[in-house]
Amino acid sequence: MVRFKNRYLLFEIVYADTPLGWTSIPASTSLALPNATQPGEAADQSPFGDTGRNNYRLPPLANKDLLFALKDSIAENFGDYGAGLTQRPLTLKYFSPHTNVGIFRISREEMHIVWGALTFINQLKGRPCIIKVIHTSGTIKKCQLTTIKYDRDRIMFLRNQAQLLKDSQAYTQLGLAYKESADEVNSLEI
């Protein structure tokens, strides 16, 4: 008896206002945390309409929103046949609204279909975004390790930013967030 094999996709959601790691950040860009908006920040005057910059006070994305967005995208791009093929093992194993990183479990044979559907998602709850796959693996363990490493880099970056901006509240919050997210990732069942 051959066991059923899965793939785990580690993905990151990039919004228009996500601080981009090590790239040069314009001074007006604030932290991606929901409550850390700098007061008096100029509204985004993009000629292309709302780029999601002004939507800080939206509630954080729920797990089911993401899963439904993916299922809709599969149905739109691959039809009922694709939706049927990928339906069974498709679950969101983990998602952190702090770092916008999450793990999908998908079936191994239909990996390309699900990944393609993720690529074609261009907005989540009306907010334009990119979903970028960071890592794929056959076991969730490796995904966990990569997530923790990725989270750490990300949170360290945000913490350094907070330190530079002398925002001690955000600094401690981020420290807690890192610990929380690491615990959460570790507690995922393998």
């Binding site: 790239t23 739109e76 279909i113 990944w115 393609g116 690529t119 261009n122 970028k132 796959v133």
Partner: protein, 287 residues
């Protein structure tokens, strides 16, 4: 190393990009760097004949701390076979761009582009139905000459009809080229239409490319385009390039021969076999 050889920067009005255009370009480029690309080409698109005294409006951004190669690219939309578009390096306005692409809009011009035009990329609008049928004999000419075909995914992210057309056109292109000489680039008007390189590789596999080939479409094939452009612009008959002596780095000064007076005397005194050989090597580039 991943390339995105199509970031449109065509000025929305006038001849120079406005501040808003530049901000949008900056956003796209920073996002590209974040997604893992290491080279980008800014694309200016011109329809019809190049105007006289055309000035290249592309300015390369100063990006401290980001390792990103930047190229400028011109895409000429050609529609009239009887017109002379002056596509050669003697034309100063064309020589001011790093990479040259054409977008032929009818079959005659497509044949001419594949067979004779001195360009690096043939870029067809894949988000609409192609007005002609891609034939193996025509496309083969371009493949033989090292010209690459471009697939742009930006429009496909925007809307579903373009996605359908892109998939259908890409399939026919892949069929006639047998997966050779294809590059994939974004043509993203806004930052949110970009995608990560591995996401695009996966999309390539959905189109029917082999995974390794799909990766090459974003990396080594694009490098080949950049090299082809370099050869077309800066070499004499694609064999030899000439650079001024002043451009040599400190560590390469030895290529000039002679060396410092002290070093020369030392060589003369000893005159061993190895030194003679070294001297020969030194004098060679001077010829």
């Amino acid at each position: 190393m991943f390339y995105d050889l199509n970031i449109p920067v065509t000025p929305s009005s006038g001849s120079t990009p406005s501040a808003l255009d530049q901000l949008e370009t900056r956003k796209r480029v920073e996002l590209l760097a974040h997604l893992g690309y290491q080279a980008v080409a800014y694309n200016n698109e011109i329809t019809g004949k190049m105007p006289q005294n055309h000035v290249n409006p592309i300015t390369k951004l100063a990006l401290p701390g980001i390792n990103l190669k930047q190229y400028s690219r011109l895409t000429l939309v050609v529609d009239d076979i009887s017109q002379n578009y002056g596509l050669n390096t003697n034309n100063p306005s064309i020589a001011s761009y790093d990479i040259l692409a054409v977008n032929p809009t009818n079959e005659k011009l497509f044949q001419a582009a594949c067979g004779t035009f001195e360009v690096d990329i043939i870029s067809l609008d894949m988000s609409a139905r192609l007005p002609f049928y891609l034939k193996h004999s025509t496309v083969g000419l371009a493949v033989e000459r090292g010209i690459y075909f471009e697939l742009c995914y930006g429009a496909a992210i925007r809307d579903a009809t373009a996605r359908r057309n892109l998939i259908s056109n890409a399939q026919s292109l892949i069929r006639v080229t047998r997966g050779k000489n294809i590059i994939i680039s974004s043509q993203a008007m806004r930052a949110m239409e970009l995608r990560g390189p591995y996401d695009i590789v996966n999309f390539g596999t959905l189109l029917g490319l082999n995974q390794a080939v799909a990766k090459d479409c974003l990396s080594s094939h694009c490098r080949a385009v950049a090299m082809h452009a370099e050869t077309r612009r800066n070499t004499n008959r694609a064999v030899m390039s000439v650079a001024p002596v002043a451009s040599l780095a400190e560590t390469e000064q030895w290529k000039l021969g002679g060396g410092t007076p002290g070093g020369k005397r030392k060589n003369d005194n000893k005159g061993t076999a190895s030194n003679k050989k070294a001297k020969e090597l030194q004098s060679e580039p001077v010829k």
